[in-house]
Amino acid sequence: MYAFVEKNVENTIVIFKLDDVTQAVNTLNKKGISVLTESMVQNLDLYNVRKEITMGKQFTRILCVLVAGFVLSSSGCKKSDEAPPLKVGAIFAVTGGASFLGAPEAKTAEMFVDKINSAGGINGLKVQLIVKDSGGKPENAISLAKQLIDEEKVLAIIGPSTSGETMAIKNICQEGKTILLSCAAAEDIVNPVASYVFKTPQKDSDAVRWIFKTMKDKGISKVGVITSNDGFGIAGNAQLAKLAPDNGITIAISEAYDKQETDLTGVLTKLKGQDVQAVINWSIVPAQSLVAKNMKQIGLNVPLFQSHGFGNIKYVQAGGEAANGTIFPCGRLLVAEVLPNDHPQKTVLVGYKKDYEARYKEDTSTFGGHAYDALLILTEAIKKARSGDRDKIRDAIENLKGIVGTAGVFNFSSVDHNGLALDAFEMLTVKDGKFAIYEK
């Protein structure tokens, strides 16, 4: 019979051989030493098992309560006498890593729907917008998409904000015969074409073409490319590499950095070592402003070209003086005021900018505009189809031509589910801390 004695003051473990357990335990206990014997361990064991069975019963009871809760909540439906509204769902990344996309998109969507409803709705029916926050996570987007399609039985889903989420729910929407108007940029969304799936942002390849064209005009042929490692950066990188040779541009060096990177001087030093004539940065916030600053700080004084992700005046402000001189293709929203009055997009852009800034007291961004365009396309199609039937609306979208949105003028067809072309972009630059149209 052995007893284990817990550490005494000198940190040693003492083991006794005993003949009379009870007496030994008592003596040791009196001396303030706790004793653990084999039978105690076994008893402890039994005690725990007993506790678990009681826990099992508690679990059972709590689960019963929850089931009752489900039953009660699902049977509590309100009946309304009004004509059923047109239900439109929206999945945006309002919080999380893509919130700079989702937050303005959600705000724009709500503003648009309120405006439509206060003007009497479409075909006399009000629009009910159901916005869900996916946090930028595809698995949440899947769960929310299924909710919107199966439970709420929406006509269409606006969003999601990111390409990863859109690809995750593309098949679900296609098989659920629900129209999806994505606000994400990946070409995969509309290629291959799924009959119910559309997207509103401009094509990356068009942005790249504009950049290369401007470079050729400036006599630049040797460039360095840096991209972030998120979906947008990778897609941009692919397009840049693909279109460079045909446009007479040599990419001397191409590097990808982590989107959370806080210091880009190392990467830019590598580019400086290759004597590039210009730098193309394809990323989203916060790297865009960082690149501009780091370039000036390490003395890399060549033109900086950015992507259409540079779509908010805040990025210019974050870059301070370093942002001046950046050249990038973008939707015309950022220069709405300086457009000539006869420009087809002027009314829409100025109107959107005014309404958004008045209502939300913050600067507009091109990202919010994608949600505006999506809702515009949907509502125009519903008007044209004069029906709440999904298939008719889908057909109507494919036949829409000349719809003036914030990103450009949309012309859909059965093989083009994006609707925008080269002219959707305008080359912009930054002068004295403000956006301006790039003059050659």
Partner: protein, 296 residues
């Protein structure tokens, strides 16, 4: 690679390394006094920076920084008193889980107080485009500030721990809490002080790096992870080793970046962490009996 380029990479590596080192030093202070790994260390940097950014619109920059440091110090003390003190006798598992929860709460609070936009403090000297030349390499003057402030923090702490009474009291607690208490040292107060000190240096570091790295509410976690890596690299609990390890890691990352694709840079620090944990858990610069680190 010519000499100016090498200098450029080295400077870039040292800058980034000194940031990691500061975070690691913050950990070590708390670890030494309590044995807790404080997952919320990174958040202190960001809270400090965000507070300073909000304040510098109302008061001049130096005042804003001082106030931000004070506010964060108070936060550190609050965290200890409200959360850590109650569970001082808990298992390692529970303490780790609590500090994780604290870091999440602080981060979400920052999100709702300040929103998700990227901000930065104004440059201490110069602007976004100013550049100074050091040995042929161009850097922003703010980088010199980062290096300077980091050195001051480390020197200050060393002096504090070696020569002041409070500093020595904290070291006593780190060595053997019971013995320190027997000597009349208020060990509970020492624990609170260690949290406040870590929060203070975190806030100061956060302010000085804000113009360089920009500040966003969720930057605390990646900083904390790099900080642990460096702390373990040097040897948990050994502050001077953390500084050396931080500079080592920063230079290693810069070197990797110059030779290979930039994309592998992140992976390097994690691989180093795993290798150290597997083969030399006591850290590169610390010699410790492995039996000290083992449970059994």
């Amino acid at each position: 690679m010519n000499f100016p380029q090498i200098v450029q990479y080295c400077l870039s590596g040292i800058t980034v390394g000194s940031i990691y080192a500061i975070v690691a030093v913050g950990f070590n202070i708390i670890y030494n006094t309590t044995g807790i790994i404080n997952f919320a260390q990174g958040e202190f940097l960001i809270v400090g920076a965000m507070t300073a950014i909000s304040l510098c619109r109302i008061v001049p920059l130096p005042v804003a920084i001082v106030l931000a440091v004070l506010v964060t110090t108070a936060l550190g003390g609050l965290v200890e008193i409200v959360f850590i003190r109650r569970v001082s006798n808990a298992s390692v598992l529970r303490l780790i889980v609590i500090t994780i929860g604290i870091s999440i709460i602080i981060r979400e609070a920052m999100l709702h107080i300040w929103d998700e936009k990227v901000r930065s403090l104004p440059y201490f000297t110069g602007t976004a485009v100013s550049s100074v030349t050091v040995l042929g390499a161009y850097i922003s003057p703010q980088v010199l500030w980062v290096l300077g402030v980091s050195s001051i923090i480390v020197t200050g702490l060393t002096l504090f721990f070696r020569f002041t009474l409070t500093g020595r009291a904290m070291r006593a607690c780190a060595d053997d809490r019971m013995a320190a208490r027997l000597c009349g040292i208020n060990d509970r107060w020492m624990v609170t002080l260690s949290f406040m000190l870590s929060a203070a240096i975190g806030a100061l570091a956060g302010c000085v790096i804000s113009p360089v790295t920009q500040t966003q509410y969720d930057m605390g976690a990646p900083l904390a992870i790099k900080g642990f890596t460096v702390a373990i690299l040097g040897g948990l609990g050994n502050s001077m080793a953390s500084v050396a390890a931080g500079l080592f890691l920063g230079l290693m990352e810069a070197f990797m970046m110059s030779q290979f694709e930039v994309a592998y840079k992140e992976a390097i620090s994690i691989v180093i962490l795993l290798l150290i944990l597997m083969f030399r858990p006591s850290g590169i610069f610390t010699r410790r009996e492995v039996s000290d680190l083992r449970t059994l």
